[in-house]
Every structure is written in structure tokens, then in C-alpha cells.
């Protein structure tokens, strides 16, 4: 535990203990998901506290992306409970659009709108979802683009941006709505290696600003140094979860160790 704390320079001593006592922002309990007869999630339990950066790792097909997508209802969980910020996500009567205003999402393939400039990509939801005026949404969007270091690319179309820049615009699109939490679905997997760093740097600065993040990723080094907690999934179950020092340490469960050492190579 002590060694983990040394990777977290932004946290005051004792912060970890304080986090334990705080009501989790996201509380996943007994969540299962079936595609027909295929059970892709089996009774998952994961908590994410405010300000935490939690990594979901595991081999492909382990269900980590599906779990992430259940959190904002892009997928429907079959059973269980997901509490987020005081509301039950899985409640069929829940206003999903209101929920999604409070949870941002970043995708593996960026999914920027190709027919709009970077600025318009960010302002669309500000205008149409939050009902902000044109000038106001532009101010907010420029601030969000500034945070990801791309204010100077506001009038560029996605095709004119590198993959890393596109992904940072996508992050700004989520940030602009001031969500309480951001979900990342393999945010760097589609990027050339030399572009990964800029996206990770953006995520690191978000973490320092206190954003709560749940991240599906294969960036083991980043998980090791930046995550508060790492959840290792395989075959639709959580095999093990804990601080990076535990998951990447010698006392991790054999299956976890095998996966982590393979990925780290």
C-alpha cells in the first residue's frame, strides 16, 4: 500500500483512507448481462468513489467494455443494480438522457462527427441538451478545448486532426458537459504509439483536477502509475481488484500475474 502511495503524488497522506469512507459515486452490484444464452457478465461488483481513477483490465472478451457500456445504458444489464450519484441506472423508468448528461464517454474509435468542426462537435450537446445559447456554448466549448490543449484546432474538421487530437476533442466533448464521471472505452487502442502519450497526459490532468474516471484500457504502465484501483476481469467475472501495487505486485493471484506480465512485455 505504501508503495502505491508513492505513485500518487497529488494525493495527501491519508487520502486513501478518506476515500474508503465516502459513499461511492458509482456502485455496481451483482450486475449480470446475457446476450441470448451467452453470459458475458456474471454478478459483477465494483465501486468507484468520487475522484477515483479505476482501471478495468482483462483479456478481450472478458466483458470489461460491456460492463462500462452498462454504466450509461448503451448496453442493458440483464440483472443487478448500478447506483450512480443517487439514482438507479438500471431503473427502466430512469431518464437515460438526464443520466448521460452526468456521465461522459470516450470511445476507442473517437466517433467525432465528421461533418462538424472540432468546436461544433463540442457545442452540439451544449446547445441541444443543455439548451445553452450559441455564444455561451462556444465559450464553454473553447474552455474545454483549451483543457485538452486544442483550442487552436477549434475550426478544424476531424479528418484534419491526428488520431490523438481527435481523441482529445472527444474528451473535450465529454468534459464540456461537466459530467460527474467519465467512462473511457480503450481510449488509446486505435492510436499510433507516438500519439498515445498526449491522450494519457490529458487523462492525467483530468485526474489531477479531481475527475472520477472508469477506464477500460491495455495501458498497463499508465494503470500502474496513475490508477487508484485496478479491476482484473476474465470470462465475465472480476478475478481480483485492488490498488496497483497489489495487482501488479508479487502477491497478485496467479491468473492476474500471468495476464499482467503478458501485457507488460
Amino acid at each position: 500500500m505504501q508503495s502505491a502511495a508513492s505513485f500518487l503524488p497529488s494525493r495527501a497522506p491519508g487520502a486513501a483512507a478518506e476515500i474508503q469512507s465516502v459513499e461511492p459515486l458509482l456502485r455496481i452490484r451483482d450486475v449480470s448481462k446475457k446476450f441470448g444464452s451467452l453470459e458475458v457478465l456474471k454478478s459483477i461488483n465494483v465501486d468507484v468513489s468520487p475522484g477515483e481513477l479505476v482501471f478495468l483490465i482483462g483479456p478481450s472478451g472478458s466483458g470489461k467494455s460491456t460492463l462500462l457500456r452498462c454504466c450509461n445504458r448503451l448496453e442493458e444489464a440483464t440483472s443487478g443494480s448500478i447506483r450512480f450519484d443517487g439514482s438507479e441506472v438500471l431503473d427502466p423508468k430512469l431518464d437515460v438522457n438526464a443520466l448521460r448528461r452526468r456521465i461522459g464517454m470516450v470511445f476507442q474509435s473517437f466517433n467525432l462527427y465528421p461533418h462538424m468542426t472540432a468546436l461544433s462537435n463540442v457545442t452540439l450537446a451544449l446547445r441541444k441538451v443543455l439548451g445553452k445559447s450559441g455564444p455561451e456554448s462556444k465559450t464553454i466549448a473553447m474552455a474545454a478545448l483549451e483543457r485538452v490543449g486544442l483550442a487552436h484546432k477549434a475550426s478544424a474538421y476531424p479528418a484534419e486532426l491526428s488520431g490523438g487530437q481527435q481523441q482529445r476533442v472527444a474528451i473535450a466533448r465529454g468534459l464540456a458537459l461537466e459530467p460527474k464521471m467519465m467512462l473511457f472505452d480503450e481510449p488509446t487502442s486505435a492510436l499510433d504509439p507516438e500519439l498515445v502519450g498526449s491522450v494519457l497526459a490529458t487523462m492525467r490532468s483530468m485526474r489531477e483536477a479531481g475527475m472520477t474516471m472508469l477506464v477500460v484500457s491495455h495501458e498497463m504502465r499508465f494503470a500502474r502509475e496513475a490508477a487508484d484501483r485496478v479491476v482484473f476481469m476474465e470470462g465475465g467475472v472480476v478475478v481480483e481488484q485492488g490498488p496497483p501495487a497489489q495487482i501488479f505486485g508479487p502477491d497478485a493471484q496467479p491468473r492476474t500475474r500471468a495476464f499482467v506480465s503478458n501485457e507488460d512485455r
Binding site: F107, N111, Y113, H115, L124, A159, R173, L177
Partner: protein, 224 residues
């Protein structure tokens, strides 16, 4: 050679017939404009409804679309013009040609726009929905604009093909270009009015084809 020119490009005939052909051009333009506006609007509307309420309207929609695309427009024109009055619907030839061609264009446009909608990557809709946009907003602001860009070339082709079918008005007495031309041919026994009709179509459609090219260029956006 003289005989050829006399049959197809007779100067007297041109002078005598051009006012009638011009009237025909006006009627053709009116029908074409109405058909294009009605057909494209209704076609996009149906594709949007299919996207939003696919489960409920898919089968009746597909029956309409497939019938309208499979049956020759001439058959539909004759059926409507001679059939509807016996059902107590009093309808002019002009209205028949407008409604039938609009229905056919609607069917094609629906299929073209639908193909565009489903070829927009699924992640576009997901990204839009994940920011809190409703299904309708995600469709109107994100998916449909991209689908329409993909659809412009086939839409232009189909619109031109259907609009040329205004010539079918001639079989039910609508005084469009071909009707005027064939009437003049039967009075004069000379083919010149038909050549004038063909020329009128060229003058009408070449700008439309040019407009289609311009739209394609304008709506393309830079790709990787």
C-alpha cells in the same frame, strides 16, 4: 438528306409549333418541381420514421416501397387515372401524374436514404446518445446529415430518372412536352415537333444534372 432535314428539322414546323412546346415545357416543369419536392420530402420522412419506429412500420412500408418500385409507372398512371373515378374519386390527369410519380420517387428515396442511414457508423449514434441527445436529435444532427451526403449521387440519378417520366402524362392527356409534340406531329405528319420536344428535355435536364454535380461537390467533406 433534304428529306431528312425536312422531316426532323422543318423550319416552318418549328415556327408553328414552338408556342405549344413552350406551354408543354411549363407544364412539365410544374409537374417535375412538385414531384421532386413531394417525393424527396416524403422519402426522407419515411426513412426517418423507419429509423425511429422501424418495428411498427417496417412491413407496411416495405410493401409500399417494393410495389412502387416494381410496377412500371405507366401501369400505375393508367390504374390511377381510369380506376380512381370508378371508386368515386374525381381526379385530374395532372394530379394523377403528380401523385403517382411522387409515390414512386418517395419509394426510391426512402430506400436510398435508408441505405445511407445504416451505412453511417454505429459509433456516431452512440457518441451522440452518450452526450444526452435524444434519439431524434442524434438522428437529425448527427446521423441524417452524414447519410444524406452519402445519398446525394444516387438521389440525383433517381430524381432525374423519375422526373423524365413526366412524359407519361401524355397517355392521360396532360399537356406536357411530349403530349404537345405528338399532337403537333399528328396534325402535321412531320416529326419536327418531336425533335423540339427532345431538345426541350435537354434544355431542362442538363442544368439539373449540373446542379446534382454541384451538390455532390459541395456536400463532400474531406476524408482521410
Amino acid at each position: 438528306m433534304n428529306h431528312f432535314i425536312d422531316t426532323f428539322f422543318n423550319a416552318q414546323q418549328i415556327l408553328a409549333t414552338w408556342p405549344a412546346i413552350l406551354k408543354g415545357v411549363v407544364v412539365t416543369l410544374e409537374i417535375a418541381a412538385l414531384v421532386v419536392v413531394t417525393g424527396i420530402t416524403a422519402g426522407i420522412g419515411l426513412a426517418v420514421l423507419r429509423w425511429l419506429f422501424g418495428r411498427w412500420i417496417k412491413w407496411p412500408l416495405l410493401v409500399f416501397v417494393d410495389v412502387a418500385r416494381a410496377v412500371p409507372p405507366l401501369v400505375l398512371v393508367l390504374l390511377a387515372y381510369f380506376g380512381l373515378p370508378s371508386l368515386g374519386v374525381d381526379i385530374s390527369g395532372f394530379a394523377v401524374i403528380w401523385l403517382v410519380l411522387s409515390a414512386v420517387l418517395t419509394a426510391f428515396v426512402e430506400e436510398i436514404v435508408w441505405a445511407g442511414l445504416i451505412s453511417v457508423k454505429k459509433g456516431q449514434r452512440e457518441a451522440a446518445r452518450s452526450t444526452g441527445l435524444t434519439e431524434v436529435q442524434a438522428l437529425l444532427y448527427v446521423v441524417l446529415p452524414q447519410a444524406l451526403r452519402l445519398a446525394v449521387p444516387p438521389l440525383t440519378n433517381r430524381t432525374i430518372a423519375i422526373t423524365k417520366n413526366t412524359a407519361l402524362g401524355t397517355v392521360i392527356g396532360v399537356p406536357e412536352i411530349i403530349n404537345q409534340a405528338t399532337t403537333a406531329v399528328s396534325f402535321s405528319g412531320n416529326a419536327t415537333p418531336l425533335m423540339m420536344g427532345a431538345f426541350a428535355y435537354l434544355v431542362l435536364f442538363i442544368p439539373i444534372i449540373g446542379f446534382g454535380r454541384w451538390v455532390e461537390g459541395r456536400f463532400a467533406w474531406r476524408r482521410h
